[in-house]
């Protein structure tokens, strides 16, 4: 199953065996709590006491940390430099030669970095431990229209094929000695003629692909069945419901906290 999906990583962990909706609820909770709770440090608490232990249990701690780091670090550096130094009218906190980090700016940067961390981290944790087709199956069982799950799964599957085609085009261009270099206009002149056939040829296939799913009853009226079954432990629906309640609670709490302060 190595060829399945971009992000999903198979591991022998009990987290991987959880129902997709349970994991969706967990990461949804992190996302909501991280984005709504006030204070600079709340997101860091969520990461340290929630996300990292879960990643460890999923046997993906290093994977998650390195992937998240690669995405988040440039943001953090930018946000600390720009908002920390260029905060207008702030109280100087640390001075390095002519430049100074302002207290308000640094606080803003800490809060932003925390939000970036929790958003990227919980999204990645979810995607690393959940197979998209199983997620769609679980959502279909809850009434997600089959056309939506078709959309999402086939998009994820078509994208790598398309990228491969785009790369073939690029390589072919290079091997013909047509370097994509020079001024912006020269580069654009080199790339756009490559893009056009890629787009047009893929669009022409659409008609036959529509017929192909029609012929297999994509629009057949009546209830559909499913070839795969997703296992779910008895306590999981309870946890899911609890997490939904916790999300509502967190939302109310953050509104109250913001009103109070």
């Amino acid at each position: 199953m190595a060829e399945v999906f971009g992000l999903y990583k198979q591991r022998a962990s009990f987290i991987h065996g959880l129902h997709p909706l349970t994991k969706l609820a967990v990461s949804g909770f992190f996302l909501l709590a991280g984005l709504s709770l006030p204070g600079m440090w709340s997101t860091y608490l969520l990461v340290i006491f929630g996300l990292l232990p879960l990643a460890f249990l999923s046997r993906l701690l290093l994977e998650l940390v390195s992937r998240t780091g690669r995405i988040v670090l440039p943001f953090m550096i930018s946000v600390f430099l720009i908002q920390g130094i260029l905060w207008s009218g702030g109280t100087p906190l640390i001075e390095v030669g002519p430049i100074s980090f302002k207290q308000e700016g640094v606080q803003f940067a800490i809060a932003s970095s925390g939000r970036i961390l929790i958003v990227v981290g919980s999204f990645l944790w979810f995607a690393l431990t959940t197979r998209p087709d199983q997620l769609m199956l679980a959502l279909a069982e809850r009434g997600l229209p089959s056309s939506l799950s078709y959309l999402i799964v086939s998009s994820i599957q078509i994208v790598p094929r398309f990228q491969a085609r785009a790369n073939t085009i690029l390589d072919a261009q290079r091997s013909r000695g047509l370097e994509i270099a020079g001024s912006i206009f020269q580069r654009a002149r080199a790339v756009l003629p490559l893009v056009a056939p890629l787009i047009l040829s893929s669009l022409i296939d659409v008609e036959e692909r529509a017929l192909a799913i029609e012929v297999r009853g994509f629009n057949y009226p009546g209830p559909k069945t499913s070839y795969r079954e997703i296992a779910q432990a008895a306590w999981e629906p309870m946890l899911q419901r609890f997490l939904l309640l916790a999300m509502a609670g967190t939302l109310i709490l953050s509104i109250v906290l913001r009103l109070v302060s």
Binding site: M1, E3, V4, F5, R131, D133, S146, S149, Y150, V153, S154, Q157, I158, R161, D205, E208, R209, A210, L211, A212, I213, E214, V215, R216, G217, F218, Y220, P221, G222, P223, K224, T225, S226, Y227, R228, E229
Partner: protein, 284 residues
């Protein structure tokens, strides 16, 4: 049982018809091959049988199409869907893209029909066995070779057990061994009386060996209809650009060299060729 009467069809926005005054009857359990050069209207015929014309492609359709005694144009599409299975020309487009493994891909049609899971599992396994893709069950359908995809495409329609199976160039990506296997499987299904098969094909050698009947289309019109070995020996069919078996080609070469007895029928199959060429040798 399929019957077409005086069917003429033009795609929307075109002036010349893709099919002209076509009349045909195909009895239940027959293995009928459709041959003809590119643009002859073979795929159009397949679309008519599957109801895509007139339901998906509008245009102008005249004449009558009956499938199992009912008018295909007025029959509810879901009913037609259960009767007629269509395997499209391009296997890359036939893969739904919404499934992650070959067995899920094959089960897709059954899920849509609402078949219970236990039955689905049995039917998927049987279909994979029949077209020889059992060992690919856990592979990603989009990562297969063209030939493997073609087999999966066939299995994914076969598994729906249609009464009529229409295959549009189903061996285009297969090597000779694979092509032969597909012809053989189709032959068996037709012979067992389970299915009526209409197969659009360019590989006339196999058509001659396996099909009950060949229909030659040229420019949307019926040019010849009959036993493959008769149809494939007809001069006008050859001139229209339909492929020939190597035996017929050998005979045609002799004809060109003036060494063929006038009016003598050209051989199409190996058996015929053996007989004719033996007689030919004796006369010399």
């Amino acid at each position: 049982m399929i019957s077409l009467q005086g069917v003429t069809y033009s795609y929307p926005g075109t002036s010349s018809p893709a099919l002209r005054d076509l009349s045909l009857e195909i009895p239940r359990g027959q293995f009928c091959a459709v041959i003809g050069p590119n643009g002859a209207g073979k795929t159009t015929l397949a679309y008519i049988l599957a109801g895509f014309i007139p339901h998906f492609y509008h245009g102008s359709l005249q004449g009558e199409v009956n499938v199992e005694g009912k008018n295909a144009a007025t029959m509810p599409q879901r009913e037609l869907l259960r009767l007629v299975g269509l395997i499209l020309q391009n296997p890359f487009n036939q893969i739904s893209g919404t499934k992650v493994t070959v067995q899920d891909e094959i089960a897709f049609g059954l899920e849509n029909l609402g078949i219970p899971r236990e039955e689905m599992v049995a039917r998927v396994a049987a279909a994979m066995e029949l077209v020889g893709v059992s060992e690919l069950a856990e592979r990603s359908p989009l990562g297969l070779s063209g030939g493997q995809m073609q087999r999966v495409a066939i299995a994914s329609v076969l598994v729906m057990q249609p009464a009529i199976l229409v295959l549009d160039e189903p061996t285009s990506q297969l090597d000779p061994v694979g092509s032969r296997e597909v012809f053989q499987a189709v032959r068996e299904m037709a012979s067992s009386g389970q299915m009526t098969v209409i197969m659009i094909e360019h590989k006339v050698e196999w058509v001659a060996a396996f099909a009950d009947r060949a229909i030659a289309l040229v420019d949307g019109a019926l040019l010849a209809d009959g036993e493959p070995r008769h149809v494939l020996a007809i001069d006008t069919v050859w001139r229209a650009g339909v492929g020939q078996t190597r035996y017929t080609l050998a005979a045609r070469r002799l004809q060109e060299l003036g060494k063929w007895q006038d009016g003598k029928r050209l051989p199409v199959t190996l058996d015929e060729a053996t007989l004719t060429f033996k007689a030919f040798q004796k006369r010399r």
